[in-house]
Symmetry: C2
Subunit: 370 residues, 2 copies
DNA sequence: ACGGTTCGCTAAACCGGTTTAGTCGCGGCC
DNA sequence: GGCCGCGACTAAACCGGTTTAGCGAACCGT
């Protein structure tokens, strides 16, 4: 017959202690406004009743939640299976936690990101993978929530943190060119078929531009670069490489847009009998912890993922602290190429002659092996 | 001089539409109580004003937050760097999301888990790695929050989800015994030095019992099993193995309590010149996706991590739906050994006794994992 | 024509706190 | 002795919604 133990309210404490609600509130929030012994007595009564101020009621009156939101257009389950995101969250969590803020992940609810935003009880938002043209951006603004964008800086009125994707990509391509590679395959991130599109398009575009500019600068033909896309996971990378191979593409090097895809491509290559880096060089992007541990250790473009998260939160907190109008800040973090064991000189005899940069191989004739 | 755009309130909509607050509320929550055209008009006005019901105010009146909490005694940053936790969260997120619930991670704030719980605005809690004797358990109960425990089932009044750690560990040890191993090193999880202790102690204890019972059942000396502890990470596993080796322990096999530690141990062994599995067999625990991708592929005890998360949420939701008294459910999920490439016959000449009949038995018929 | 429903809407109470604007009693000051 | 100021506390308004109780008009059957 026992009913769910209803938690004591402030009025219960007040009655029990023989004081007003106000006094109880003071005892917790500004004890100096009460006689010391009164404050002590109230707190003792509260303790004995097991009273804790109701967090929702507090949020309502104080007009702040002490919680920050991490906004992402992908489902939570997808998020957590993505190591990139895990590292990013680590950075976000660390700074938020240090400043006494909790974290809430805002992801599409019943397929609607707008709905999720409407439900979110946060003081500010870090948005990752959200392109500027997302309608949700407008919704966040109308909700009066400060926001910092990550991986997108084309909304000047919001703070932003980006990395130099283009420079990193260019460095990766230059590295391959110096090693003599003349036919590379770019393994790009495909945007998810359904659901709200994320901003991979923007980042992909920048990286592709970086890759290509290196080849152009080296006076190499644009056709030296072929592109295939896949999901950004080990399996996605493997599948993408297999698909490219099946369609007759025979690169001597792979430029993958994520470490996971690079690892997948390596695996697929190995299964096709291509030794890495002897027959095929592979470059990743991200420099996850994992990258140093695979065999061979992955050459990759390092981007400060953790720092992206922590910096975004710092910007956001600055905006929250700002009393009046506050000029949003824009940060661009550096990337750098980390050369490990998955890249090496292009295999001999694969270079197109200098006079004939196109040196197209007849795909049909070469399909002999299958 | 522009002030932060204050979001419109329900009263603004009411005034603008020439109706009462009640009518506006009805227009959103029970439109059938209004004349259709009135409801439509109110919604149009609301839209034009950009009105959204304030989520905190809603929570307060409806006495529910539509959010579930994931309670963990570790810092968020630690959590996210732990792949085990990522997979678990995936399971949690998937079910929560499907039922329209958001997720909030509750971890120590300024070192105090109690403080974090006090701030959490959730309808129920999934607690992982929380031992029964934690004082926080009592706090959650007093807050009137339903709770489901994961990896701990000694609180009968709360639902629970555990896996059969002991049986899985026993299977792993039996596998090694059949392969002829007689000197094994258990790489256990050390409990973090400071901060609130998590429940690894309970799980570790169970697994250790499983390991030992296999050796006892095979009439092997207890001294065949030595134990070393380390942090549950690749580095932690490597360090632990090195430490054991340095202190003169010379096992032919390692039973690690996590895949990460197993991988670390493999790396450390390789650096010591020990080939896996020829000179040293290694068994992990968890069966992360990663386990199949390392070289050699890791033999490990599979536990349904994702399912632990999803099942815990299902139990919790059932408790939330329950109108009256509800008997909490307790689930125990199975574990199973996945044999891959990191285990093999004990190297010749290492056996303490030649009389043991099991010694020559070939690798038994266990499922070969991919 | 009249009492009883039903419909469409509203006023006021409520959720559980915080905060503002006092009230009350007392000691000090001139 | 009257006024002021101050310390300790409280009543009431408020945060932004939802919900209950109820009101007036239209409708309905007899």
């Amino acid at each position: 017959m026992e009913q769910r133990p209803s938690r004591p309210r402030i009025a219960d404490v007040a009655r029990e202690a023989g004081v007003s609600k106000t006094a109880v509130s003071f005892a917790f929030n500004s004890p100096e406004r009460l006689a010391p012994e009164t404050a002590t007595r109230i707190r003792e009564v509260a303790d004995s009743l097991g009273y804790r101020p109701h967090p929702v009621a507090r949020m309502l009156t104080q007009r702040q939640t002490m919680t920050l939101g991490v906004l992402t257009p992908q489902a939570l389950a997808v998020i957590f299976s993505n190591p990139f995101f895990a590292v990013f969250s680590e950075g976000v969590a660390q700074v938020a936690e240090a400043h006494g803020y909790g974290l809430q992940f805002i992801s599409p609810m019943h397929g609607s990101l707008a709905l999720a935003i409407g439900r979110a009880t946060v003081d500010g938002v870090v948005a990752i993978g959200l392109s500027a043209d997302h309608p949700e951006v407008e919704q966040v603004r109308r909700a009066g929530l400060p926001m910092v964008l990550v991986d997108s800086d084309d909304l000047p009125e919001h703070g932003s943190v980006v990395v130099d994707d283009e420079a990193g990509a260019r460095a990766a391509a230059e590295h391959l060119i110096r090693l003599g590679h003349r036919r590379v395959l770019v393994v790009a991130v495909e945007r998810p078929a359904s659901g709200p599109d994320d901003n991979t398009a923007g980042v992909s575009e920048l990286r592709l531009r970086g890759y290509r500019s290196a080849f152009t600068a080296a006076s190499l033909d644009r056709t030296a670069v072929s592109v295939v896309a896949g999901r950004t996971s080990i399996e996605g990378g493997a599948a993408a490489f297999q698909r490219a191979w099946a369609s007759g593409i025979r690169p001597t090097a792979v430029l993958a847009m994520s470490d996971a895809m690079a690892i997948g491509a390596m695996r697929a290559a190995r299964e096709l009998g291509l030794r890495v880096p002897d027959a095929l060089s592979v470059v990743g992007f991200d420099d996850l912890d994992l990258a140093a541990h695979v065999d061979p250790p992955l050459t990759t473009v390092h981007q400060p993922i953790r720092q992206k998260g922590s910096e975004a939160v710092r910007l956001l907190l600055a905006e929250l602290d700002a009393t009046g109008a506050h000029r949003p800040e824009h940060r661009r973090l550096a990337t750098r190429l980390i050369v490990r064991g998955s890249t090496g000189p292009a295999p001999a005899g694969t270079e197109p002659t200098a006079t004939n940069p196109i040196a197209t191989e007849p795909p049909a004739a070469e399909a002999r092996g299958t």
